[in-house]
Amino acid sequence: MTAPFFFWFFAAIVVFGAVGVVAMRQPVHSALFLLLSFFGVAALFITLNAEFLAAVQVLVYAGGIMVLFLFTIMLVNIRRTAGQPYVHRQAGAALLVAFFLLAVVGGTIVASSRTSGLADAPADPAKLSTTTISRMMTETVDGKTVKTPVTEQVAGNSQAVAWGLYRDYLLPFEVASVFLLVAMIGAVVLGKRTMEHVD
């Protein structure tokens, strides 16, 4: 009853924020709209009973990444683009292509969701928030370590996320960690001043 209302409400906020990002002329304002959009996404996660993702979304994107964005924007001190034309001269063509793509992609998705029943009511949110996991439980009984396999319904989704990341998607997760290492090295390589060759 209330779920669709919240979905549309927060979805509207997300879209509003996203439009604001590209429509603002002042980079700081764009960043703030992006922030708004992130909060909308976090709220959408909550409507899906994914509190963990919502909190992480705020913590990582709003609290970490966007702060660094703002930081950079302020450090490089981008001048206001007041004198420059608001739209690029290819804007017409870009709009045309974008709307064509939107029509094709959106139309197909809407059409196929009508026919294939994909848009049926989603699973019960209450069920989404519990996850069945099986694991070995280590307990100490009478000074001995006993391992017993247990299957349990885990309430909440922190555990579900953990099992997804560290079991099902372990390999991509680890490769992603190497990826981040490389990103860091790359930033240092491109960003640092070369000490030698100062001539």
Partner: protein, 397 residues
């Protein structure tokens, strides 16, 4: 459950709690400023505010009245909307966090006309409440940077940027410290973490000695307090990010700083000092301590940390910016990573593992303390003369 009951549980009671919390926090922050000024005065052997009301207790009321009636100056070239938004962005997260702070356990009370109602000393217990605290506090930073930026003033901007760098840097060790508490309790819910300290029969300060140290140091940095108050280093940056704020908006920044101190202390209490539990929750001989209601225990513990905050302010000099960054990245983060691994290994071993870790840590700490004091005692105190370099410079002069 009929409609009226659900309105009661999901709307009315939380709303009442929210209003009460906001009022209490605002008052507590005010009282805290008074206590801080008196304590500092005591530490510096002077009197402090003692005119308004008995022993100056009403000083903060006078301050509030002053701030409210002051002219609200906005710099001419400021970004007006953002300048207005910044204090809001600081205060909302600062107060929102209080929704999940576990001041006490559940209790049942009788309200005339409504019957028995079971509710708790917290507004909400989420299964990710600890993460929520981190998330919300990390958002407070926007008010600081934006306030600095929107003022269109060099000092404010530099202060804002400094504080952004500082907050981000210290969020990392803080996060790791919090994770180690999560590992010990195996839950992200603050209420469950407190309860876990009952089932583990110990406060997590025992195995979490290092974690607590890291948490509190980072927490002091996160709240921009001495010795980490660089964003508002008056000798360099006038007043930092809020240089261009005055009157009520400045008061909001000020109030939030104190609210954040309370938050940090409250989380430290919940994670490492057993929350609302009495000391040694498993020792029956101490059951008489239960006379003190849980909420009071919590408030008592939080007050201790707040006092430590003030004590720090009276004791430590301020760090230099590069020292601050070096401390965060080169000292605290490596320590916190090592500590995290240790705690994780101990947590694998269940209660016993944690207990062994605690004994080892405390043993090492006490041992180190004893050795250091012994050495200090053995060696004659360092000569009161200045180091050679300083003396040389003095001679030159």
């Amino acid at each position: 459950m009929d409609i009226s009951a659900s309105v009661l549980t999901y709307f009315l009671i939380p709303a009442v709690k929210a209003v009460v919390v906001v009022i209490l926090v605002a008052t507590a922050a005010g009282v805290l400023t008074y206590i801080e000024r008196r304590t500092l005065a005591f530490l510096q052997v002077r009197k402090g505010p003692n005119r308004v009301g008995p022993e100056g207790i009403l000083q903060f009321v006078a301050d509030v009245v002053k701030l409210l009636t002051k002219e609200d100056v906005v710099p001419a070239k400021a970004q007006h909307f953002i300048h207005f938004l910044a204090p809001v962005l600081v205060m909302v997260p600062g107060l929102a966090v209080f929704a999940v702070l576990p001041w006490g356990p559940e209790f049942t009370m009788r309200i005339p006309g409504l019957g028995k109602i079971t509710t708790a000393w917290y507004a909400a217990d989420l299964n990710v409440s600890l993460l929520l605290v981190l998330a919300i506090t990390s958002v407070g930073i926007y008010g600081i940077i934006l306030g600095g930026w929107a003022s269109n003033s060099k000092y404010a901007l530099l202060g804002g940027l400094r504080s952004a760098a500082q907050l981000i840097s210290y969020e990392v060790p803080m996060g790791f410290a919090v994770v180690s508490a999560i590992l010990m309790a195996r839950s992200l819910s603050l209420v469950e973490i407190v309860e876990a300290q009952r089932t583990h029969q110990m406060w997590f300060i025992l195995p979490g000695l290092v974690s607590f140290f890291l948490y509190f140091v980072s927490g002091v940095a996160e709240t921009n307090r001495i010795p980490f108050d660089l964003p508002e280093a008056e000798s360099e940056l006038v007043a930092g990010f809020h240089t261009e704020y005055s009157g009520f908006r400045w008061a909001i920044f000020f109030l939030t700083e104190y609210a954040n101190m309370i938050t940090i202390s409250a989380i430290a209490t919940a994670l490492f000092f057993g929350g609302w539990l009495r000391p040694f929750p498993s020792v029956h001989a101490l059951a008489f301590l239960d006379v003190v209601p849980p909420v009071l225990w919590y408030v008592l513990k939080v007050s201790c940390f707040l006092f430590v905050y003030i004590w720090f302010r009276g004791t430590f000099p301020r760090y230099r910016f590069d020292q601050l960054m070096a401390l965060g990245w080169k000292t605290l983060i490596p320590i916190s990573l090592t500590n995290l691994v240790l705690v994780a290994l101990a947590a694998l071993g269940g209660f016993r593992g944690l207990r062994i870790l605690g004994i080892v840590l405390w043993g090492a700490a006490i041992g180190a303390f004893l050795i250091v004091t012994r050495l200090r005692a053995a060696k004659p105190p360092a000569a009161k003369t200045a180091p050679a370099s300083v003396r040389a410079r003095a001679a030159e002069a």
